[in-house]
């Protein structure tokens, strides 16, 4: 059974006559690393809001079709219930911050789950370390830089150990090195067994970690598959996806040199470049 199953979902925000999502069907299987991308306004954030029931419960609107989380229809489960399975990290951390210290922020969700004090302590220490924010533990979250705030939010969600972690443009406010490290962490969490869904524009940093990619445009899935096959396609380029520069580069020289397989990471791209230029195995 897929952990999230979206079945022919069409959704209209209240008062809108244009659907934000139209005929969406997709499965997220346990262990997946699903990458969702597409132009701004294409419905990416709307789609992930259906994964823990924020849509329709909080947003209202017209909701046709269904979303099943571990087989349960989200229309008949509360957001609180669904959040135990699906944790969402949104793009603007400031809107998610509730408390006046980083430690309190992380403890908040755990206390709501009714966990014993000792467990809360242990989990907090672990996520502070995992996200490399031990030094921030006593700081006031709203006084931190947005990148640091985002890490705090992520820590507070990971601490609750949901099965699916959904990240809606998590690195939007991070500097490149932090983004790189953060996405490595997401990859690591995926390897440790978390199912991961990431909405991202920085495909050059994340595509290599994903086993599935979906491109949305105008609320519809225009293409889905493996990143290596999808990103070099013309359709990706046509709908405004920020295709990694190296893929664009190899597409441009593909009539001059044979590209046997499009690369999906910097390392592979470098190998492909050496191959094309005849800097072979001797290197």
């Amino acid at each position: 059974m897929p952990i999230i199953e979206v079945d022919n979902l069409t959704y209209y925000y209240p008062g809108s006559s244009k659907p934000a999502l139209a005929n969406i069907s997709l499965n997220v299987e346990k262990g997946d690393f699903l990458l969702i991308t597409g132009p701004s306004g294409s419905g990416k954030s709307t789609l992930v809001r259906t994964f823990n029931g924020l849509i329709p419960h909080l947003f209202g609107g017209r909701f046709e079709g269904k979303v099943l989380v571990k087989g349960k229809d989200t229309r008949y489960c509360s957001v609180a219930e669904l959040s135990k399975t699906v944790g969402i990290v949104f793009q603007d951390p400031e809107n998610q911050i509730l408390t006046l210290s980083v430690e309190r922020e992380i403890a908040f969700g755990l206390e709501n789950l009714g966990l014993p004090r000792k467990v809360i302590r242990e989990r907090m220490e672990k996520v502070l370390k995992d996200l490399n924010i031990v030094h921030l533990r006593e700081r006031i979250p709203i006084e931190l830089s947005v990148g640091e705030q985002q890490k705090v939010i992520v820590a507070s969600i990971i601490a609750m150990m949901p099965e699916v972690l959904v990240f809606d443009e998590p690195t939007a406010h991070m500097d490149p090195l932090s983004a790189l490290k953060f996405l490595e962490l997401v990859h690591e969490l995926n390897k440790r067994g978390y199912t991961v869904v990431v909405v991202e524009h920085r495909l050059d940093l994340v595509a290599k970690y994903a086993n599935k990619i979906i491109i949305l445009n105008n609320g519809r899935i225009v293409v889905k598959g493996e990143p290596r096959n999808i990103l070099p396609s013309d359709i990706a380029e046509e709908c405004g996806v920020d295709v990694p520069r190296y893929i664009r580069f190899f597409k441009r020289i593909s009539n001059l040199a044979k590209i046997s397989r499009y690369p999906i990471s910097d390392e592979e791209a470098a190998e492909t470049l050496k191959e094309v230029l005849g800097y072979g195995r001797s290197y």
């Binding site: 400031e94 190296y246 470098a270 230029l277």
Partner: protein
């Protein structure tokens, strides 16, 4: 005198004691296109808030068009220097997209007709015209960012500071922002871009300022700075995509040529394929 902005030994200490800027010296000339990069917490946002007087130096001087920012008001400075902040939520207060853009124009006392004309123009330019009657808060985050830009550009300041304009923008809208920056620059505007989007910088900017821990650690041509490992490490930067590919490939000819963009790499690679490149 040609200086749009002059910063002399600027120190800034936040009320909570955090020393955000430690002796910044900087001149930005009229019509220049400057990108400021650096890790989160390096002081980039603190620095640009000094440009329109939102923050006043703890020590040192900031002059905008020769005027000391301590001796004038934010309102006066705002007429000539517009800052598009990175979090649009903090910037909006009108009920409609149209009013949001018209607000500053009304405040600066532009005639009705001019306001209507300009608002229409910028809304169209940023693909927001269809949303004129909607609340700014119903827009997607990418659209909000474009609205923030539109409301500043509508009143046509001489210096425009963009704080992370490309965050959350797809390629089409990045292209649009790029085109718009080019247009503004060709009109003689001074452009200051604060960003993490180093790929956007290399394709558009010829001066790069790198900040780290409240200091400027490099100021110069992107090509020299971005192939300098020491600076990159110090500033927690990662290489733009094309230099990254070149570095991983370890091909000496390309390392020597230091291409920054797809086009530059293409030219260099064509050189090698044709045989006039320096295969060793």
């Amino acid at each position: 005198m040609g200086e749009a902005i002059e910063v002399r030994n600027l120190w800034y200490i936040y009320p909570n004691g955090v020393v955000a800027l430690k002796g910044i010296n900087l001149e930005i000339r009229l019509g220049e296109k400057v990108a400021i990069v650096g890790p989160n917490g390096a002081g980039k946002s603190t620095l640009i808030k000094h440009f329109n007087g939102l923050l006043k130096p703890t020590k040192g001087v900031v002059r905008v068009f020769g005027v000391d920012t301590r001796k004038t008001t934010v309102a006066t400075l705002a007429r000539r220097i517009g800052i598009v902040f990175q979090n649009p939520y903090h910037q909006f207060f009108s009920e409609k997209v149209w009013d949001e853009v018209a607000f500053a124009l009304k405040n600066f006392g532009f005639p009705e007709e001019t306001i209507r004309h300009r608002v229409t123009k910028v809304l169209r330019l940023f693909d927001l015209y269809d949303y004129a009657d909607r609340s700014p808060f119903t827009l997607s985050s990418g659209e909000m960012r474009r609205l923030a830009m539109a409301s500043i550009l509508a009143y046509d300041p001489d210096i425009i500071v963009f704080d992370e304009p490309t965050v959350g923008q797809d390629r089409f809208h990045k292209e649009k922002i790029r085109e718009y920056i080019k247009l503004l620059s060709s009109q003689g505007k001074t452009i200051i871009l604060v960003t993490h989007d180093i790929d956007f910088v290399v394709e558009e900017f010829d001066r790069l300022i790198v900040m780290s821990e409240g200091r400027i650690i490099a100021d110069g041509a992107p090509r020299e700075i971005l192939y300098n490992e020491e600076i990159l490490t110090k500033a927690s930067l990662i290489l733009p995509q094309i230099p990254r590919l070149v570095k991983y490939s370890e091909i000496p000819f390309l390392l020597k040529h230091k291409p920054l963009t797809e086009d530059e790499l293409l030219i260099a690679v064509l050189g090698i394929l044709r045989g006039d490149g320096g295969r060793c």
